[in-house]
Symmetry: C2
Subunit: 325 residues, 2 copies
């Protein structure tokens, strides 16, 4: 319903560069015909504020870095806008912000400016963080739906669902095995390495956050105007995440990630992309999970299931989209 609100009310009203804003998490600004800067923004709300593997501060910083990174840009700076609910404990606030500061320092992306508003006790769940990020386009990055061709490989940097399940588990008071933590991490080094080494063989990047891999595949198929097929057996799995998803009745494909990258590369470049990603600890289980098919007037993503069947992948909605990022 938010997507509908955005498409039918917000974008037409705002005017401006709707094409750039509609599908990408970051907008690219050009100067003299050359793509120069990427700009992104997101408002983070999550309950609980702290969860295994992260908290709202780290989440906001990593999420913004990642949105800039998958646009093919090197993040240059972040802004942090805090919306603090009256009554939030200063100690909690301090912990969240220290975590944000640490995440920014580890990623070498400075938080350069900020803003703080305090609102009445009520609807905010304690703290909302609105971040914006700007980055400089990497030389050689030429990414877009129009670059995706038949035979292109779809590469995923690691197992699915850890962020969403860690948050939902904590929220429901479930205690899963201790290795189920949010994957919350900055992926800009992964993205930059793909741009640098693959050059024009890299066609598209995205990070599968809310809506999970399913949402990205639906977006990719629709944006490229092509069917695509992924192979369930090729998708890396964290057994704890799989168990948690089964307990909660969720599909790993639709659960949010916060430190994963999906890359679309030229037909022959799948193995090379996997090799580049596996040099990084957060992507040591990277895998080539599928490919694009022919153009179609009614394009769909499909999955070859582990037991040999076929299944349509749909854009998740409603219950499948808990507010976890």
């Amino acid at each position: 319903m938010t997507a509908e609100l955005i498409a039918e009310v917000i974008l037409p009203a705002l005017g401006g560069d709707q094409e750039a804003g509609r599908l990408a998490d970051a907008a690219v600004l050009s100067a003299g015909g050359a793509r120069e800067l990427a700009l992104t923004t997101d408002s983070y709300v999550v309950q609980p504020l702290e969860f295994p593997g992260g908290d709202i501060g780290k989440l906001a910083v990593c999420g913004t870095i990642n949105d800039v990174a998958v646009a093919g840009a090197r993040p240059a700076g972040l802004s942090v806008g805090l919306i603090i609910e009256e009554g939030l404990e200063i100690q909690t606030l301090r912990r969240m912000l220290e975590s944000a500061g640490r995440a920014a320092a580890e990623a070498s992306v400075p938080i350069v400016t900020g803003d703080t508003k305090v609102v009445q006790r009520g609807a905010l769940d304690g703290l909302m963080i609105n971040t914006a990020g700007v980055g400089r386009m990497l030389a050689g990055a030429d990414l877009g739906f129009d670059r995706i061709a038949e035979g292109d490989r779809i590469v995923l940097s690691g197992p699915l669902g850890e962020h969403g399940l860690a948050v939902m588990g904590r929220r429901k008071g479930l205690s899963f095995s201790s290795d189920l933590k949010s994957d919350c991490a900055a992926i800009h080094e992964l993205a930059a390495a793909l741009v640098e080494h693959l050059g024009p063989a890299l066609h598209f990047m995205r990070d599968p956050t809310r809506g999970g891999l399913a949402a990205i595949l639906a977006e990719l198929s629709s944006g490229a105007g092509r069917d695509l097929t992924i192979d369930e057996a090729a998708i890396p799995v964290n057994p704890s995440a799989l168990a948690a998803a089964e307990i909660l009745g969720l599909d790993l494909l639709t659960v949010a990630n916060e430190g994963k990258l999906v890359a679309v590369v030229e037909a022959g470049a799948g193995d090379e992309a996997v090799g580049i990603l596996r040099r990084y600890p957060i992507a040591e289980r990277a895998a080539d999970i599928g490919q694009f098919r022919a153009r179609s007037d009614d394009p769909w993503p499909r999955m070859l299931t582990a037991v040999g069947g076929r299944r349509m992948i749909q854009m998740p909605y409603g219950e499948e989209l808990p507010r976890i990022c």
Copy 2:
């Protein structure tokens, strides 16, 4: 108290480039030693959402453009993050967003990306808008507290207090004379003209929003480490704003503006700066209002009053700082 929270909890916790973030409304990002980009963010809440001369949509767009502009940068793009309270009427939302879109189009600064969150009915007064803006540094802009020297002139682009009084008047159900409207406007063309024509004779720029001219003068005096004196008789006055301020018991110096510029220029360049500004309809009453004095260990801004007295100008706080932007 927000300033204290920011200085004592938020900045130390976030780490990062505190110097850049502490005093400026926009942070400047350098590349290879050259100042290249300005990044700014702000969260806008205002009640009522619509007021004479503007609304929250126009306010968010102009405010963000202005923060980038006074850093000496040409605004290149804006992001708009909407935080919508459940129950806000779609017609109201549409009207605010159309206003934001119109303001962006008039200023030729595109809204390139956005984000929407819906929160429970409660504390938000209907709608909060978080905007971020990025701009490219203008060639020849060299602005900073360290550039301010004894004898430097302080130039103000027009009469004070129209925004704050229009909002507070509407909030209290007062109907002032019809020419009291918010001055909400983008001032980036004014700022760019000063940079272009004055070059190194332009030493500092700021827009006097919340806290009014008083807050800017306190910041300037403290940042430059110099006393400064302004001449009350030289400050342009809107008689309707003055009457409204008297009715409400407010000091025009402390009331918010949303379309004004304060520039600090070299001793001999005051008249030229006024002349440049007066070419623009929104600055046709620009005036040279005062000057910087010698260095001081305890610097203060002072005002020569119209009746020949002298008065200290203090950073406004508490009751003097209603939430109107």
